[in-house]
């Protein structure tokens, strides 16, 4: 029991994910600054932002649904924490989790976005509602190819829906990324990840220049801090999920751990570079993009995986 609490609260759960998430968000800001030929913030910037927001006043707008408004950020945070715990327990010991944890992780990864939608609609602000409805459309668009490409590792690893077995298969037979179907699936996964993290070019729900901050517009103080923290933890958890599915995870023996960390950092830098070199698309363009070419690519990847290429 005590062990389970430790898993959820300290290592690989909340505390660990939060610290790494805040640091990776700093990498995001720093690389962005360097791309724009600026100096960028110091490494503790996100910690300062977080503590500052905790010390501020929380305002619940008049006429909003108070309980839903205040609880929505907690839902998202809890979901991310559980996903991170599951992923890292799998990485540490592939035999430690249960059958079907891939499905559980896929469901839980959607919950932060749903929390944003709930919070946005509960805050009784027209711009927040607009942002929440856009977020909903975005989820509908990227979930289809994202679920399809999750079949590729499952098929290659012999029909298992357990992350541990997918990982063991990759340790024994080489990473899924090195096969053609795995490569195509990985490209689709990176695009879907960008939309899942709602970063440019798919930051349509919180488009700063047109609808201010979208669903977050009425949030202030600690509730905003929790939302920001959830997003920063997602920036750590979602790439880790792809590392487990396609790149063979992280091995904890000697030098291999550095190679594992490098995989994550490379993925993070890819995200940041996509974010810095693209303009924002409209929501209809995003839906067309994900349901058209991306889904087609995902289907091709699944078919190739079925043929064993």
């Amino acid at each position: 029991m005590l062990k389970a609490v430790f898993y959820f609260v300290v290592f690989p759960g909340f505390l660990f994910t939060a610290i790494i998430g805040l640091l990776s968000s700093w990498i995001d800001r720093k690389v962005t600054a360097r791309v724009q030929w600026r100096v960028g913030p110091p490494w503790w910037q996100n910690f300062a932002d977080f503590i500052k927001l905790l010390g501020k006043e929380t305002i619940v707008p008049k006429g909003s649904s108070r309980t839903t408004f205040l609880l929505a950020p907690i839902f998202g945070l809890a979901a991310v924490t559980i996903v991170s715990t599951l992923l890292w327990l799998t990485l540490i010991n592939p035999a430690s989790t249960f059958i079907g944890d891939l499905i559980v992780v896929l469901y839980l990864l959607t919950i932060p976005s749903i929390a944003v939608i709930i919070g946005g609609f509960a805050s009784k602000n027209p711009l927040a509602s607009l942002g929440a409805s856009r977020e909903m459309k975005l989820i509908l668009s990227y979930e289809l190819p994202f679920l399809l490409i999750c079949f590729v590792p499952v098929i290659q690893a012999g029909g298992t829906i357990r992350l541990g077995e997918i990982l063991t298969y990759q340790i024994n037979n080489g990473v899924i990324f090195s096969s053609l179907s795995g490569f195509l699936a990985f490209i689709v996964a990176v695009l879907c990840m960008q939309a899942k993290l709602t970063l440019v070019p798919f930051d349509i729900p919180e488009a700063e220049q047109e609808i201010m901050a979208g669903p977050y517009i009425e949030y202030s103080g600690p509730t905003l801090a929790v939302f920001k923290l959830t997003r920063q933890m997602m920036l750590f958890v979602v790439p880790m999920f792809l590392v487990v599915l396609f790149l063979g995870g992280i091995t904890f023996s000697g030098w291999h751990i550095l190679w594992g960390i490098l995989k994550y950092v490379i993925l993070l830098v890819i995200i940041v570079l996509i974010r810095n070199t693209n303009p924002r698309v409209r929501i209809d363009q995003a839906v067309k993009f994900f349901w058209g070419p991306v889904t087609l690519l995902a289907i091709v990847a699944v078919l190739l995986a079925l043929l064993g290429i």
Binding site: R29, A33, Q36, W37, R38, V39, G40, P41, P42, W44, Q45, F47, A48, D49, I51, K52, G55, K56, E57, T58, I59, E208, Q209, M212, A213, Y216, I217, E218, Y219, S220, G221, L224
Partner: protein, 140 residues
């Protein structure tokens, strides 16, 4: 120094309110955010919603219409919220001293923490204003 105050001074998020300005001050504010001056290295960000803001930056001559909005914005901001008046018009009435539609300088409407005079003030002057604001907060 307590950690709450220290983190506040290290991450000031700015909401920009322009009430009938001639846009010179606004352009200079944007200048301070460009790569040359790069205020993000001090943790200063421009945010789109007043609920996220720590600093309410006011430019321009406050008109009777603008005064109502300014009051409401100040009430909507989560406390602690600092108000900074940028430019001669916001600091005093400047050349609109006898104008019929001037509702007064910013400090006649909401409490102001820092004044940055100039027509328009240079980005360097704004950075100096921010430094003075931080110093007044920490009491050094």
């Amino acid at each position: 120094m307590n950690i709450k105050l220290k983190s506040l001074t290290k991450s000031l998020w700015v909401f920009h309110f322009a009430s009938a300005p001639c846009n010179n001050c606004d352009i200079e504010i944007l200048d301070a955010l460009t790569p040359k001056y790069d205020l993000e290295r001090f943790g200063i960000l421009l945010v789109g919603s007043i609920r996220h803001a720590d600093v309410l930056l006011v430019t321009g001559m406050i008109t009777h219409k603008g005064a109502e909005r300014l009051k409401r914005l100040y009430e909507q901001a989560p406390k602690p919220c600092l108000v900074v008046a940028v430019g001669s018009c916001a600091c005093s009435k400047s050349i609109f001293k006898d104008s019929y539609n001037a509702a007064g300088p910013v400090d006649g409407i909401v409490p102001v923490s820092a004044y940055i005079p100039g027509c328009p003030p240079k980005p360097e002057a704004m950075i100096m204003g921010v430094v003075k604001l931080v110093k007044s907060l920490t009491g050094k």
